[in-house]
Symmetry: C2
Subunit: 322 residues, 2 copies
């Protein structure tokens, strides 16, 4: 029997991951005994009496974190973070959660003395600066946002805590998740879901970049499958560096909109307004998109086959379910 | 008039840097008004009434750090650290000083709202793992010691605090400093000075690696000159990444001993005992030595011309002066 903790369990990926784990019923060769969803606001939406429980936890408070993680905790999905745009505006909050908070989680996991598996979500935002394309798993990390810096620090901590035998860490640099259901958030990448999601809900959306803007994407569905695969890996497969790129695919904004039109007809695309947003543009234009996720592909992680698939997943998993 | 703070002012480099700055009298185009040496034990050795004052400071205590750094502080040399061997044995102490302590210094520097210059000493220990040689300024950081991990985190913080305009940071990955005067310390590299220093003082020394062990070195004298050059740089010369390799040279243990013999005759080398030390070997054999410090060379940083020079500097600066 295995006990799973999802930090950031109230988020889109945390919720979908919990549902996928409930459906699956087992992880790392053992039946799932419990799934605990923790977040700053107690995550809702699971039936009473199920294996899923919800708790509040402020990761920046070490006492709350050490109460949450105990010797019964086998697997921790560390998904919680202050998102990129917010971490850029509120530097101290980003440090408190994305750096001190991650250190608190790793310290509490170490204190169990049972070397729990920790799956950590990093970001493509760790890449940047004067580094040549293409970007590989072993490209120098020179983040140009505070969010990216904090994620890079988390990666270094994860590998060292793993090397010391304190945790069994597996880090994944996530592509931008699209189509993300729910509300827009403070991530600079938020529009990369809004321009598909809002029109499919009959609402206008603002696109602050041109049709030819290239970026690197993964659907929530594939992301969850890959996180579970990340938990299932043997540590030996990861070698001396515990973090790798989670494979995605590069699309232009135009290709994404065309995919929406191919799946859902021409009306939604008419709801997209093209408006400059300098704060967002400055961040997203520093992000890298020519990525070569060789390690992840060799380990069997799967990107989406087409952006049409991403649109279809949103329609079937989120739009029709809501 | 400029006010300088040297954190780690009790160490070998801190002491030599203070003497060099006193002799020089100016920095960044302004006369030096004061030099404050801070360390866990109050640094000694400077005449009363000079511009040099000594204070104690525990970097892991934010209140002590914020008392030390104030709006009068123009330039901070952040040299203090828990050394590699000690940080590997006492993980928590390494985190407290090398990670939290660095964050405390950067936060206090930011709080002055005057964007002080911060010169940060990183280490070649940031390199490691399954990364191909040669190592450049932009080689992926995959440290295989906790010390190296903490130094890599400091680099990321330095660049981001600089990007945000909180400090004007300049980081340097130092080669192993040899010949280091004084006592052996907890650094895994400590023997790389001991095998020269102790014999020149008529004492035995232990060498835990073979004559063909290659490593990358710089003399204390050149290191101090380069740190001052690092303070003098214009920030624009550093671009989007604030840390670079401080140029050194690769020598084998045999070449170092031969250089000592060339300068001081055959007797000292007879005092070297060859003995295995598995803890030390495990760390130092993970360190990289095939380094290409292109950025530093382009910016005018100087390595030593020969290891004979390193031996001569020790004899004239330290052995004869003591």
């Amino acid at each position: 029997m295995t006990n799973i903790l999802i930090l950031g369990g109230g988020g889109v990926i945390g919720q979908k991951l919990a549902r996928a784990l409930v459906k699956r019923g087992h992880l790392r060769g053992r039946d799932i005994n419990s799934i605990t969803l923790a977040d700053v606001v107690s995550p809702a939406g699971f039936p009473e009496g199920s294996k899923v429980q919800s708790l509040t936890c402020d990761m920046s408070d070490p006492s709350q974190v050490s109460q949450l993680i105990n010797p019964e905790t086998d697997v921790i999905f560390l998904l919680a973070a202050i998102v990129s745009g917010t971490a850029e505006k509120d530097f101290d909050l980003g440090i408190q959660v994305n750096l001190t908070g991650v250190l608190n989680v790793l310290a509490a996991a170490r204190a169990t003395e049972r070397c729990p598996v920790v799956i950590y979500t990093s970001s493509m935002a760790v890449y940047g600066g004067d580094v040549p394309d293409p970007i590989t798993d072993l490209t120098y990390l020179n983040p140009q946002t505070s969010y990216g810096m904090q994620k890079a620090v988390g990666e270094l901590l994860l590998t060292d805590f793993s090397r010391k035998g304190f945790v069994d860490g597996r880090g994944f640099r996530l592509p931008t998740i699209s189509v993300r259901p729910g509300q827009p958030n403070g991530a600079a990448s938020s529009f990369m879901s809004s321009i598909i999601r809002e029109p499919l809900n009959g609402q206008e959306a603002i696109c602050p970049v041109g049709r030819d803007f290239l970026h690197y994407y993964l659907s929530p569905k594939r992301c969850v499958e890959n996180l579970i695969r990340g938990a299932e890996l043997n540590a030996a497969e990861l070698g001396l560096d515990r973090t790798l790129i989670m494979p995605g695919r590069m699309w232009s904004i135009g290709q994404m909109i065309d995919a929406m039109t191919a799946v859902c007809g021409p009306e939604p695309a008419k709801l997209i307004k093209w408006e400059s947003q300098p704060d967002v543009e400055r961040i997203v234009k520093g992000w890298r998109f020519d990525l070569r996720p060789d390690r992840g592909l060799a380990l069997g992680f799967q990107p989406d086959a087409s952006f049409e698939d991403n649109v279809r997943y949103y329609v079937s998993e989120d739009l029709e379910a809501s």
